[in-house]
Amino acid sequence: MEKRARFKSAWLPYALVAPQIVVTLLFFFWPAAQALYQSVLIQDAFGVSSQFVWFENFQDLFNDETYLESFKTTAIFSILVAFLGLSISLILAVFADRILRGASIYKTFLIWPYAVSPVVVGVLWMFMMSPTLGVIAHALRYFGIEWNHQLNGRHALMLIVMAAVWKQISYNFLFFLAGLQSIPKSLIEAAAIDGAGPVKRFFTIVFPLLSPTTFFLLVINVVYAFFDTFAIIEATTQGGPGKDTEILVYKVFHDGFKGGDLGSAAAQSVILMTIVIVLTVVQFKYVEKKVQYS
């Protein structure tokens, strides 16, 4: 779409885009180029000289057990976060869409975890689940479960999944609710007249019509699990015990800043960029055919 009415000026448009372009060049393109460049170099231990090594950093990464392990952890983590986050919020949204009275009160209560920062979420959950003083850990012990995320890698993964899902429910809920409300009531009514009960209507009409929203949220949740959960992990498990909860983003930070292995960290950044690009392309492809029914 283009505007018919335009203004003419030789310099003004450049002045208008300049601030954003300068920021973009300085803090996005230049660093990204640096990451690309560093990813094909190996620095010596003192950082004085570096050597061009083609794709050796990448080869090293894919031969590195811990990196592949981190890939696997990230995959399991994001599948769990996306699956649990989407299912719980879909259930809540379906019921919230049903009721007339009090719906807005429930909505207010359900959406505000969106505003809680990931580090706060992490500390909250760690406090409740702490094996020594956590309220929930104690309740679990009462039921015979010895909860200890500091020693048990499975528990640690469950902890970060719970914290990440808790924060993301509000976002998914809002989008599911909006999606449900945009389904024409006449369709549902027609099915009801034909004798389809609520459960059947949900699986044959509502859920299929909701699929664009679900797919969109799936991408968003995977991106969230990949990139926005750094602070949750940093506040709760710090990648441990061992490396059981070390997802890719956490590993980049760890190797680059704490370990000082710039070449490897840069190669990891490049791999992450590739993942984001793929996810963004998927998302945009989908956006084009998004609206099927409104």
Binding site: T24, L110, Y114, F127, L133, W166, A235
Partner: protein, 283 residues
């Protein structure tokens, strides 16, 4: 409502109540712990009945920071840093995106699509994937430990630019034509016509961007190395660094409650704009 099913209605309310409980429980625990004494909050398990230390604890964290053996600035100071950064990020994102969207929609100029694509690509470069080199740039520019360093690298925004572009495109052409006939230049048109029309969009985006800015963690972790530039999120992490025994959980929880208050209030009070901003910025 399609048909009357009282039992299903009951189940709906029960499920939603359960959802609200799950969402609210962690915050309730934090709130209770923040009103207890250090010993009470560190009891195993702590009591779920509020204590009587509310005023004492909050007054202490806001003005003095936590006691114990960890040195850190008062929470009041850290909240201020978070607040200023969040405001700067929100204002920065909105202003530079509005200006560039205005240029993209109302002007034809060589390089237009190149610039547009450059901004689009930033979507694919989240800060997490370019941490090390971006940190290098900021440190070369001597912007560590400054508001500029905490905010400017985060203010480029493809989503906000698209949103304003989308919005400007549906503004009727007649308005710009009328403005031109009346002899108004582009800047005048922007100020007197586009800006008033965009106010709802600006407000909606502001809510989202403020929360985004307030909740930054990884970036300030690198940029704020001096304690007086710590935003509250980093402060919380510092407070719990001592390990289970050394941590004063009542103070930590008071800080958590304070840290979630500003963005939480904004979401609840400005719910309409928040929802609009959230939905719009993902289109």
């Amino acid at each position: 409502m399609i048909e009357r099913r009282p039992i299903l209605d009951l189940i709906s309310h029960l499920v939603l109540l359960l959802g609200v409980l799950v969402v609210a429980f962690p915050v309730y625990v934090a709130l209770v712990a923040s009103t207890q004494t250090a010993d009470q909050a560190a009891a195993a398990p702590m009591s779920l009945v509020p204590g009587d230390q509310f005023l004492v604890n909050y007054a202490e964290v806001i003005t003095k920071g936590t006691s114990g053996n960890i040195s850190m600035p008062p929470v009041g100071r850290m909240m201020w840093v978070s607040f200023v950064s969040a405001l700067l990020i929100a204002f920065g994102k909105i202003s530079i995106s509005m200006l560039s969207a205005f240029a993209f929609v109302y002007f034809r100029f060589p390089g237009r699509s190149l610039f547009f694509w450059m901004i689009f690509v930033t979507l694919m470069l989240p800060v997490e994937v370019r941490i090390t080199p971006t940190y290098q740039v900021v440190s070369d520019l001597r912007m560590l430990n400054s508001y500029a360093g905490l905010t400017i690298p985060l203010i480029a925004s493809a989503t906000a630019t698209f949103l304003f572009r989308q919005f400007f495109l549906i503004v009727p052409d007649e308005l710009a034509e009328a403005a031109r006939i009346d002899g108004a230049g582009p800047l005048r048109f922007f100020k007197d016509v586009l800006w008033p029309l965009s106010r709802t969009n600006v407000l909606a985006l502001f809510v989202i961007m403020f929360i985004y800015g307030w909740n930054q963690y990884l970036w300030p972790l690198l940029i704020a190395t001096e304690q007086n530039m710590y935003p509250v999120g980093i402060g919380i992490k510092t407070m719990i660094a001592g390990g289970d025994a050394a941590v004063e959980w009542n103070m930590v929880m008071a800080t958590l409650i304070l840290a979630m208050l500003p963005p939480g209030l904004i979401v609840v009070v400005m719910q309409r704009w928040f929802v609009k901003g959230l939905v719009d910025s993902e289109k």
